[in-house]
């Protein structure tokens, strides 16, 4: 693993992976959308069940993104490796986007099903906090000019904020929430019909592959920008 912490080796690996990941994501999106619009309406939710096929994957990817950002931050903080800091920084805007999509699509599902665009229950509030953590992390990086210091401070925020991940996950068990309890990845198997699991998992894979495609590309971009800055410094 550490072999690929070298930026040149990382660029070689990333260059080879990105086209495949991107193609796999596009194929999974096509399949997921096809499956998602083929399934019959749910007996309770009606057509709005189709919102689940984009809402749940967005929420899962947003949490995965934060986990990756926190892990990269920890590596950056402990081993002081610039590539880890770059990886953490590159994940933040993507995580913020997926969180925002989770919030908006959840709201668009909640209005017809709950009769409310928003409620301050444990799951929704902790998920909104995730968005603020992402935005705060991005703001920190932009506010501190010294990149090394920005990376250190950002890493601390990312690690402290990681406490929110289990809160999001278990909020539906710890508190009485309007948001339904765990119905997919639970002991005893999913509570939802298999017919809905196929489009859901296909879209979840599509979102995950897209996240990794964009994340690797953003890390590449940061490495190239750093090289350009170094080249400019050498010229002057």
């Amino acid at each position: 693993m550490l072999r690929y912490a070298n930026p040149t080796r990382f660029l070689q690996l990333s260059g080879a992976l990105v086209p495949w990941l991107g193609a796999a994501s596009a194929a999974l999106f096509a399949a997921g959308l096809y499956l998602g619009f083929q399934v019959p309406p749910d007996y309770q939710q009606g057509e709005t069940v189709r919102v689940m096929f984009i809402h749940v994957p967005a929420a899962w990817t947003a949490m995965m993104g934060y986990g990756l950002m926190a892990a990269a931050s920890l590596v950056g903080l402990v081993w002081r490796h610039p590539l880890a800091d770059t990886a953490a920084r590159a994940a933040a805007p993507l995580g913020a986007l997926f969180t925002a999509l989770g919030l908006v699509t959840g709201s668009l599902w909640g209005r017809p099903m709950w009769g409310a665009w928003w409620v301050w229950d444990g799951r929704l509030t902790s998920f909104l906090l995730l968005e603020f953590l992402y935005l705060g992390y991005i703001a920190l990086w932009n506010a501190i000019e010294d990149e090394t210091r920005a990376a250190r401070v950002g890493a601390i925020l990312a690690l402290v904020g990681a406490v929110n991940l289990p809160i999001i996950e278990f909020s539906v068990d710890w508190w009485t929430t309007l948001h339904q309890g765990e119905s997919i990845l639970r002991k005893g198997g999913p509570l939802i019909s298999t017919v809905y699991l196929w489009p859901l998992f296909t879209m979840a894979l599509a979102y995950t592959f897209l996240f990794f495609t964009l994340w690797l590309m953003r890390i590449e971009t940061e490495i190239l920008k750093r090289r350009a800055r170094n080249a400019m410094l050498e010229e002057t």
């Binding site: 009606g46 986007l97 925002a100 668009l108």
Partner: protein
């Protein structure tokens, strides 16, 4: 799509717009960074 079409299509539309924007901005950013580096070389 019954009465809920507005919510379903809006959710898909917003998601498509957000993800498409992320793809376009990421690809453009990478192309610009590569071009800037090539220019300096």
């Amino acid at each position: 799509m019954s009465d809920y079409g507005f919510y379903v299509w809006t959710a898909y539309g917003v998601s498509f717009a957000g993800l498409a924007a992320a793809v376009v901005l990421t690809v453009l950013g990478r192309l610009r960074a590569r071009a800037a580096l090539e220019k300096l070389k």
